[in-house]
C-alpha cells in the first residue's frame, strides 16, 4: 500500500504571515525533497511530489520553523467510507501497534458528508478496535489520538499531532542584528527574538592573537546551530584587536569592560545604519557578571541609538541553559575558547559606573579612526538554513 504522506498545518490567520511562512517553509524544506504547497482555511498543505521526498526530515525541519502551531502527518484518502477504513487502518499501524489506548477525533467541514461527526468517531473507533484488538478506548488520556478530517473533498487521517515552535514567521517583524559572543546567552537571545518574527543576523568581535581561531570556529558553529530556527544568518566578523589594545593603553583599567561594550555598540550601530537593521539584540542579563549590573547596562545602552532588545534579561541562568540545551547550542557554547569579552578583564571592574565618568574615561582616546578602520575590515559569511 502506498502512503502519500501529506502534512496539514494549522493555526495561522493572516495572508501576509501565511505568505512569509510558506516562503520560509519552502526554503527550509529544500533539502528534504520536492514539495507542492496549497492553502485552505488556515492550513498549509505540504505534499511531496515524488517518492524521493524525505518526510521524516521534512517534519524535523518543520518542528523548528517559527509560525507553526502544529504539524499533522496525514494520509490523504478518498471520502468513501469503506476506503477510509480499508486504506486508513494499515496507515495507522505503526503508532497503534505500539499503543495501549486510543481515542478518535473527527472533524467534518463538509456538511453534506453522509456520516455525522459522532457517527464517524464511533464507526472508525469500532473499525480500529477490530483491527487492533489489543487496544482499548480511553477518551481522557489516550496514548494515541486518531484524527480524521473530512474536508475539501478528501479524508485526512493521522495519528500524530506534533507541536510546532509557535511564534511568528521569521522576517515578518523586520531585521535585527545580534551581538553574538560565543557564550551561552546570546544564542538563546537570538532564538527568542527570531520567535517573534525578527530576521536575525549576527555580529561578532574577534581579537587575534588574543583570541584563537578555535574561538571563531566555535561562534560560527553557533550560527550553524541557529539556522534551523532563525533561517539564513549573515555573520559579520569585526577585527577588534587594535581597538582593545588602544583601550588598554589609554583608558583606566576599571572601565575597560564597560567602555569595550560601548564601543561594540557603536560599531554595531554603524552596521545597523549601513545595512538597515532596526534593532540590536544581546544576551545581556542583570546581575550575572560585573559588566552587567544595572548601572553598567545603562552606560552601555546609552551608546546605542538603535533600540537594544535583551530577551534574557529577566531570566535565571538555569532557565537560559534549559533553552540552550533545547536548541542544541549549550554544548558548543561551553567549549572553553576565549572570546574577546574576557581578554582584558580588569582586576577590579567598576560595578556601578557613572555615565559621565565612563564617557570621560572613554574620551581619553579618540577611537573614531580605529572604529572606522574596524568597520572597513569587517568580513562577511552567510550561513544558510
Amino acid at each position: 500500500m502506498v502512503k502519500y504522506g501529506e502534512i496539514a498545518l494549522k493555526g495561522l490567520n493572516k495572508n501576509t504571515f501565511e505568505d512569509m511562512l510558506v516562503k520560509n517553509i519552502r526554503r527550509r524544506l529544500r533539502a528534504a525533497g520536492e514539495f507542492e504547497y496549497s492553502r485552505r482555511q488556515s492550513t498549509i498543505f505540504v505534499r511531496p511530489i515524488n517518492a524521493d521526498a524525505d518526510i521524516d526530515l521534512a517534519i524535523k525541519k518543520l518542528k523548528c520553523i517559527f509560525g507553526i502551531a502544529a504539524i499533522q502527518r496525514s494520509a490523504v484518502l478518498p471520502t468513501d467510507w469503506e476506503q477510509v477504513v480499508t486504506l486508513g487502518l494499515p496507515y495507522l499501524e505503526e503508532p497503534l501497534s505500539a499503543a495501549r489506548t486510543f481515542k478518535v477525533e473527527a472533524k467534518r467541514s463538509d456538511k453534506s458528508y453522509p456520516l455525522r461527526t459522532p457517527d464517524i468517531q464511533r464507526e472508525l473507533g469500532a473499525a480500529i478496535l477490530s483491527a487492533y484488538p489489543h487496544l482499548t478506548v480511553d477518551v481522557h488520556n489516550p496514548d494515541v489520538t486518531v484524527i480524521l478530517e473530512i474536508r475539501d473533498g478528501n479524508a485526512y487521517l493521522n495519528a500524530e499531532r506534533i507541536m510546532g515552535q509557535g511564534g511568528m514567521p521569521v522576517g515578518s517583524s523586520g531585521n535585527a542584528l545580534l551581538l553574538l559572543s560565543g557564550g551561552i546567552d546570546s544564542p538563546v537571545a537570538a532564538y527568542m527574538m527570531a520567535k517573534r518574527g525578527l530576521n536575525v543576523d549576527a555580529i561578532h568581535f574577534q581579537s587575534p592573537p588574543y583570541t584563537s581561531e578555535r574561538a571563531l570556529l566555535k561562534v560560527e558553529e553557533l550560527c550553524e546551530k541557529l539556522t534551523p530556527y532563525c533561517g539564513d544568518i549573515r555573520f559579520y566578523c569585526v577585527p577588534f584587536t587594535e581597538i582593545q589594545e588602544a583601550l588598554r593603553d589609554n583608558c583606566p583599567e576599571e572601565y575597560f569592560t564597560v567602555i569595550m561594550r560601548r564601543l561594540m555598540m557603536k560599531i554595531a550601530n554603524i552596521i545597523c545604519e549601513k545595512h538597515d537593521y532596526k534593532a540590536l539584540i544581546t544576551g545581556e542579563s542583570v546581575g550575572q557578571v560585573a559588566s552587567q549590573t544595572l548601572m553598567a547596562l545603562a552606560c552601555t545602552d546609552k551608546a546605542s541609538d538603535v533600540p537594544v532588545f535583551r530577551p534574557v534579561i529577566g531570566m535565571d541562568k538555569k532557565e537560559i541553559i534549559e533553552i540552550a540545551r533545547r536548541i542544541d547550542t549549550f554544548e558548543t557554547s561551553i567549549l572553553p575558547y576565549e572570546d574577546c569579552c574576557t581578554v582584558f578583564t580588569p582586576k577590579h571592574p567598576r560595578t556601578r559606573p557613572v555615565l559621565a565618568d565612563v564617557i570621560a574615561a572613554e574620551e581619553r582616546f579618540d577611537f573614531s579612526e580605529l572604529i572606522a578602520k574596524a568597520v572597513e575590515g569587517i568580513t562577511y559569511k552567510d550561513f544558510r538554513s
Binding site: P208, P209, Y210, S212, P336, E338
Partner: protein, 366 residues
C-alpha cells in the same frame, strides 16, 4: 612553516610514508591468514620488531599497540592484573603523562596506593624513587624524558636500585619522548612504552616492550593476536611505517645540543625570560616569557608561521600541573612556551623563533 612542536607530534618521514603506502598497495593481507598474503604481512611485523629491539639493544617481547596511551595503560593495568599478589602500591612521579597518571588514579579507586614524587623535591631524584619502593610495591612507573620540560631521569639507575631493593617490583619506563632522540641502547626495564608519531612515524601506532618472562594481563580480548595479549588485526601498514621511521632516525645528540644552546643563548639576552628546563634532553626547551600569556604568544608566533606549544598538547587550555612538579610557579606556567626540535630543525629556524619572541615581548608585555 617553522614547526617547533615536535614533542607534540612529528611530520611522518618519507621512509615511513613510503613503507606504509607500499604495504597498503602490495602487502595488505591479514597477518593471521593461513595463506601467503598472511605470511607476508607477518614477515613485516617480525621485521619491525627486530628493527625496534635492535635500536633498544634489547631482547624480549615487543607488542604493537594503537599508541603510547594504550602501551602505558597496558603496562599499568596489565601489571596489576598479572601480578596481583606482588603488592598494592605504585611508585610513580608527578611529571607523568596523563595516560600513566590517570591509570594510576584508576588503580587507586580500586584499593591501590600511588606515591607520586616530584623532581623539585629531591636533589637525587632517582634515589628518592628507589627509596620509596618497599615490599608492597607492585610497580614503579617513571618517564625517561619528560614531555613538557625534557627532564631526563636515569632510568637504568632506578632499575638497578629497585631490583636490589625488591626483585619482585616491576619497572615501567615511558620512553615515548626519549626513544631515538637520546641514545636508546640498553634501556633497562620490565616494560617500555614507545610511540611512532613522536619519531616521524604515523599516528595511531605504538609499542610495548616486555622483558623476557615478564607478563601482563591483556586490555583487549578477541582473536588472540600477539600471543593473545593484544587482540585485534595488526595494522601492518602502520607497523611498517614505524620500523622505517626507527631505522631512519639519525643520531641527533650533537645537532640537538647545538640548537638548544643557540636558543638558550638568545633567550638569556632577553629580559625576564626564565628557562624552566633543567637536566633536560636537548631537543626540548621550556621557558617562560614573563608578562605574556602563553596562548597569546603562541598565536602571535603562529601569525609568523612559527609553531610551538604552551603546556602539553593533551591538556588544551589547562595550566600544567607537571610544570609545578618542577618548581615552576603558577604565573610562570601561565606564560610557559615549549619549543621542541627535529632532525630537520635548522639554526635559522631557532633565530626566527627568538626574533618572534622578541617582537612578542615588545608588543604584549606591559
Amino acid at each position: 612553516m617553522i614547526y617547533l612542536d615536535n614533542a607534540a607530534t612529528t611530520r611522518p618521514c618519507e621512509a615511513a610514508i613510503n613503507a606504509a603506502a607500499d604495504n597498503m598497495r602490495n602487502n595488505f593481507g591479514n597477518a593471521s591468514s593461513l595463506h601467503k598474503a598472511g605470511i607476508e604481512a607477518e614477515r613485516v611485523i617480525k621485521d619491525a620488531k627486530k628493527a625496534i629491539l635492535d635500536r633498544l639493544g634489547l631482547e624480549g617481547e615487543l607488542f604493537f599497540t594503537s599508541g603510547a596511551t594504550e602501551s602505558n595503560n597496558t603496562a599499568i593495568f596489565g601489571a596489576a592484573g598479572a601480578y596481583r599478589h606482588n603488592g598494592r602500591k605504585i611508585v610513580t612521579t608527578a611529571m607523568e603523562h596523563p595516560s600513566v597518571s590517570a591509570a594510576a588514579d584508576r588503580l587507586c579507586e580500586n584499593g591501590y596506593e600511588a606515591v607520586r614524587l616530584a623532581p623539585k623535591d629531591y636533589d637525587n631524584f632517582e634515589q628518592a624513587v628507589i627509596d620509596a619502593v618497599d615490599e608492597n610495591t607492585l610497580l614503579v612507573s617513571v618517564m625517561w624524558v619528560n614531555n613538557e620540560t625534557g627532564f631526563v631521569t636515569d632510568v637504568g639507575k632506578i632499575y638497578g636500585g629497585v631490583k636490589r631493593k625488591n626483585p619482585k617490583t616491576l619497572v615501567h619506563v615511558d620512553a615515548v619522548q626519549g626513544f631515538c632522540k637520546l641514545p636508546s641502547k640498553g634501556l633497562k626495564a620490565d616494560y617500555i612504552s614507545l610511540s611512532a608519531h613522536k619519531i616521524h612515524g604515523i599516528k595511531g601506532m605504538g609499542a610495548l616492550y616486555a622483558a623476557k618472562g615478564v607478563r601482563f594481563a591483556p586490555l583487549l580480548y578477541g582473536g588472540g593476536q600477539q600471543k593473545n595479549l593484544r587482540s585485534g588485526t595488526e595494522p601492518v601498514d602502520l607497523i611498517a611505517g614505524f620500523a622505517a621511521a626507527v631505522r631512519a632516525y639519525p643520531d641527533c645528540t650533537a645537532h640537538f645540543a647545538a640548537l638548544n644552546e643557540r636558543l638558550c643563548d638568545a633567550l638569556s639576552e632577553m629580559d625576564n625570560v626564565a628557562i624552566n628546563s633543567y637536566n633536560n634532553s636537548k631537543n626540548i626547551l621550556n621557558f617562560s616569557v614573563r608578562g605574556v600569556r602563553s596562548e597569546i604568544m603562541l598565536h602571535f608566533l603562529e601569525e609568523s608561521g612559527i609553531y610551538v606549544s604552551s603546556g602539553s598538547a593533551c591538556s588544551r587550555g589547562k595550566t600544567s600541573h607537571v610544570l609545578s612538579a618542577f618548581g615552576v610557579s603558577d604565573s610562570d606556567a601561565d606564560s610557559a612556551i615549549r619549543a621542541s626540535f627535529s632532525p630537520e630543525t635548522t639554526p635559522e629556524e631557532i633565530d626566527a623563533l627568538a626574533d618572534g619572541i622578541r617582537r612578542g615581548i615588545e608588543r604584549f608585555r606591559r
